[in-house]
Structures are given as structure tokens and as C-alpha cells.
Amino acid sequence: MEVRVANVRKEFERFPALHDVSLDIKSGELIALLGPSGSGKTTLLRLIAGLERPTKGRIFFGEEDASQKSIQERNVGFVFQHYALFRHMTVADNIGFGLKVRHGPSRPSAQEIRRRASELLDLVQLSGLEKRYPAQLSGGQRQRVALARAMAIEPAVLLLDEPFGALDAQVRRELRRWLREIHDATGHTTVFVTHDQEEALELADRVVVMSQGSIEQVGTADEIYDTPNSPFVYGFIGESSALPVKVEDGQVWIADRPIGLSAPHAPQGEATLFFRPHDVELVEECNGCIAGTVAASRRVAGTRRVELEIGGERQRVEIELPVDHRAAQKSRVAFRPRRWKLFPTA
């Protein structure tokens, strides 16, 4: 099912949680809503589910306007951060709940419900645990049951709120791969919320980066990582270094020296230069480059991270060097970012 969020605004007691958010989700897509806490990602998810009503704007499921529909009518599978399993019901009863509460002919027989529950347990690789209670399961197992329960109602959309947030790192990685497999097998349109960029970039077809109630950027992992479109995304996703620069005559300047980067379309004046610390090219002779004094040097896993002091204003940036690179021993290093972006200073 396609989901279209059109100009949605949400206020909680006059406090805006989302400003004019629009988002198109394609059928069968796996989408991550990524952002720091307070960015509005969970609010957006709950709006899609129908757990909240938008203050303004509409939400479409396919061609249909779902904005005024209740959560029951929307037929969404929602997986809660803390699972929200019914603790007094067995695993099988939990999974069958959505079928049991149906009315009339759409309600399967008790036997059919049991069969569906077992089937879904097989799918989430928990066969044989039908009779267990949630308290008797590990965190990872509970999350799988919660997902099976949400899928039992054959939802139009699967929505997951920080699905792995309460699990330890090992289990998280395992479940991540598993969720991807389930998604590929079932083809549900899936939206999940996370604050873990690694999770979002690894798992999702497209990532929606959010900040302060707005969408900053939507794109594939490659697009988001390689061409961030705002200082926020640069800072939030992966490592980045920033330097205050000046744009004049289509050239980028630090203090009174051009640094060999041309920016013919950038507006004149103060700006901030962003680049990835690992995406730099070391140069021998500084004829149009960024040069700095080595202030600190740290070994980080397979690389060496060097902190450089640039120019007279004591700006510090980090770059990454191969461990055995000669430049790491020098007191002065010159480099040029390979991929970079300028944002005018506000």
C-alpha cells in the first residue's frame, strides 16, 4: 500500500511537534524515520497509524484519504517500542488477538486462528512457543512476537516504533538482518522509527532524516551519506568536519588564502565548509589547499585520526589518515577535501 503524507502539521497543546511535513512512501518500501529525540519521528509514525490526528494536512493510504479514519479502520500493524504484549495471554493468544476481535464473517474460527498463529510463529522463527507467556520470553523473542501479532491482521502498512531500541547491541544486529529478510519475504510497506543511524542506513530502502519537527532529507543510504543537503544531516549522519570559510570570485577562501576549491555557484560571503574526515586527499605542496598544525593524533580502529589547527583563528578540524602514512609523523599536514559542501552562514 502506498502511503502519502501531505502537508501534515501536528501540535500538542499549541506546541508544534511537526511543521508541514510531506512524504511519499512507495508500496513495498522499507523506510526509516531517523532523527534525534524530539525530532518528531515518532509523532509522524503515530499520525500514519492513526494513534494521533493531524492538526492540519492529510494522510493518504493509496488513493484514499485516511486522515479521519480511526486506527481500527486503517488496518495498520503497529509494533511498539516496549512491545506492549498482553501479559496475561499466551504467545498464541497474543498473535491471534487481532483475528479474535473481528466481527461477523471476517472472523476466522478458533482453529483457524490457532493455525495462523503457528504459521506466523514459524515465520518469526519462534516455532513451538505458542503456550509461553510474554514474561517467559527474552527481549528479542518478545519483539518477534510483537511483529507476528502485528502481521496477523494482514496490515496495509507495518509501522515499527524504535523496534530494537530496548535490546542489546548483539541482538539488535541479528534482528536487523532478520527484519530485512521478513520484509523481503512478505513485501509489506514498512516504516520504522530509529535514532540509530547505522540501523537506518543498513536496513532501509530510503531514510527520512528528521530534525525539530521537519524532514531534513529523504534518500537512499548512499545519497544521505555522500551528499547531505544540510549542516544538520552532515553533523547527524556519520563523522563530519566543519570550517568557517569565505566565498569570493567563485573561490573558497580561508582567511586570505584560496584553498583550491572552486564554487562558482555559491553566494558570496561567509560560509561553512563541510566534509567527511576520511574523504580527503593529502597534498605535498600547499598550493591552494588547507594546511594545519597537528594538534592531536589518535589511533581509531584501522585509521589514524588527526586533529589539525588551521590558520590564525585556531579552528580545529579532524581528518583521517592511513595508519602508516608519513604525514602522521609530520607536524604540518596539508590536504584538500575530495567531496565537500558549502552552506552559507546564517
Binding site: Q72, F86, G98, V101, I153
Partner: protein, 294 residues
């Protein structure tokens, strides 16, 4: 009778660290004081009640309990409890639901109101109804014109009992529901359940032990209430006398054996309540602990 204060030391199994543990003599003194106090003020009277009840032998005891007035008092007490406890379950669950699951203006005020019956003397609770429904009261003339009798009749006793016992269920459920939050209900709704199904299949089972505990205390108080009921009942023998009122009447008539016989029934009720409460606490405590595991 079980008082609301008792529940404040419901089981919290926290291990005591050595640092906060008193020295041996201090411990002994504290324990002796507690046991002596309970023995003198609770256990001894209880023994006296049963002792006095059987003072003139078992046949007198049986006679006292089977006299028509006593039987009607027992019947009335059961009737009042049978009406007021279910009503308070409905009110208590509604109030707890509203307070725990919604945000609205006047919520703090409502919470305070729920505690009002605990802070007001039961006599006042009764007097309020006299002022409201009495012949000279606010609604007295209207009620009389329509032939509705509330005061000095069963409806008045039920109203007073409901008022006095209102907090038990609500106060038991509010913290429990607040702790559990809305997650389970949202999950039920997202799976297609309607509001009633969510309540019946999810909310109610989640709070059932707490609810039962509240009902037990509510019932004990409903059967044992004296002050408020005394004001509105009119003490008409065989008609508007509940068991506690009947005990008083018998005692004032120097019929101590009969008074204690009826009192022994109330004491028995208290003991049964206590045992059930303890069993429930053991069970309920485990339930809460399991909940926390989530």
C-alpha cells in the same frame, strides 16, 4: 475493619542493607513494642468478642443469630453490600480510567475529590444526605411530592455506604493503571479491537488483582460502616438496621451476649477479609513483579 492506611505497607520485597539495620537490642525492642501493641489493641478485643459471644453457651449464640431482627439486619447488610459494591466497581473503574488514561482539566481536583470520603468524618457523610433528602432538606419537598423515600430507608443507607466506600476501588486502580500506561490499549486498538473489547480483553485482565483487592476492602467497609449509616438509617428494628447498628442497639439494651454474637459475625468477616487480602497480596505482588519485568 480494614482501613485504607493498612494497604500502604503492602509487600515491597526489598533487601535491607546492613547499614540501615538497627542493633540487636533495638530490633528486639521495636518488635516487642509492635507485637504488644497489636496484641493489646487488636488481638485481645477480638478474643473478648468471641469469648463474650459464647459466654452463655452455644444455643444462646445460635438463638441470638436466628432472631428475626438479627436475621433482617444480616439480610439488610448483605443487600446494601450487594448494591453498593458493584456500583462502586463501576464508579471506581470509570474514575480510575479517566484519571490514569486521559489528560483533562480538573484532573487534580477529581483526584482530590476521590479521597474526600476518607478525610471527612462518616457522620458528616450521613448528615449531608439528611440535609439533602430530609423532610426539611433541599430536595425533601420534591421527593415527598413524588412519593420517593430515601432517608430512613434502604436507598439512604445504600447512598451513604456508596459515599463512604467510594475511594477503595478507585484508589487501588489509579496507581496501577498509571504505571501500566496506554501502550496495551493502543496495541489492542491497532489490532482492530473496539473500545469495549480493549477494556474487556486487555485493561480489565491487567488490573484484575488490584480490582479484586479494592473490591475486598470496599466490601469489608460496606458491611462494617457505622457512622454514616447510623445517621441516615433511623434505626428501625427489622427494617433499617444493619448489623453494626443492630450490635449497638442490642448492647444498649444490656443484651451483651446477643450483641457480641452479632459482633462475632462482623469480626469473622474481618478475619476472612484479612486472609483473602493476604492471599491476594501474595498473588498480586508476584503479578506486579512480573509486570515490572517487561
Amino acid at each position: 475493619m480494614a482501613d485504607p492506611e493498612i494497604k500502604s505497607y503492602a509487600p515491597h520485597h526489598e533487601s535491607l542493607s546492613a547499614a540501615v539495620t538497627e542493633s540487636r537490642p533495638a530490633k528486639a525492642v521495636l518488635m516487642i513494642v509492635s507485637f504488644a501493641f497489636l496484641g493489646i489493641f487488636l488481638l485481645l478485643p477480638l478474643i473478648v468478642v468471641f469469648n463474650e459471644a459464647f459466654a452463655k453457651g452455644f444455643s444462646d449464640y445460635a438463638d441470638a443469630l436466628t432472631s428475626p431482627d438479627t436475621r433482617s439486619a444480616i439480610y439488610l447488610t448483605l443487600l446494601v453490600a450487594a448494591i453498593s459494591v458493584p456500583l462502586n466497581i463501576v464508579f471506581g473503574v470509570s474514575a480510575a480510567w479517566a484519571i490514569a488514561k486521559f489528560e483533562f482539566k480538573g484532573k487534580a481536583f477529581l483526584t482530590t475529590l476521590i479521597d474526600l470520603p476518607f478525610s471527612v468524618s462518616p457522620v458528616i457523610s450521613g448528615l449531608v444526605y439528611v440535609l439533602l433528602f430530609g423532610a426539611q432538606g433541599l430536595l425533601g419537598a420534591w421527593l415527598k411530592a413524588h412519593g420517593i423515600v430515601i432517608l430512613f430507608a434502604v436507598p439512604g443507607i445504600v447512598l451513604a455506604t456508596i459515599f463512604v466506600t467510594f475511594p477503595f476501588v478507585a484508589r487501588e486502580l489509579i496507581p496501577l493503571m498509571q504505571e501500566q500506561g496506554n501502550g496495551d490499549e493502543e496495541a489492542a486498538l491497532s489490532l482492530g479491537a473496539n473500545g469495549w473489547q480493549a477494556f474487556w480483553y486487555v485493561t480489565l485482565p491487567n488490573v484484575k488483582w488490584g480490582l479484586l483487592y479494592g473490591v475486598l476492602l470496599c466490601n469489608a467497609r460496606a458491611m462494617g460502616e457505622f457512622g454514616a449509616v447510623s445517621v441516615v438509617s433511623g434505626h428501625i428494628r427489622g427494617l433499617t438496621n444493619t448489623m453494626p447498628l443492630h450490635v449497638e442497639i442490642l448492647y444498649n439494651e444490656y443484651n451483651a451476649a446477643a450483641a457480641f454474637a452479632v459482633a462475632s459475625l462482623l469480626a469473622g468477616l474481618a478475619l476472612v477479609t484479612l486472609v483473602l487480602k493476604t492471599l491476594l497480596e501474595m498473588r498480586y505482588g508476584a503479578e506486579i513483579a512480573a509486570t515490572r519485568g517487561h
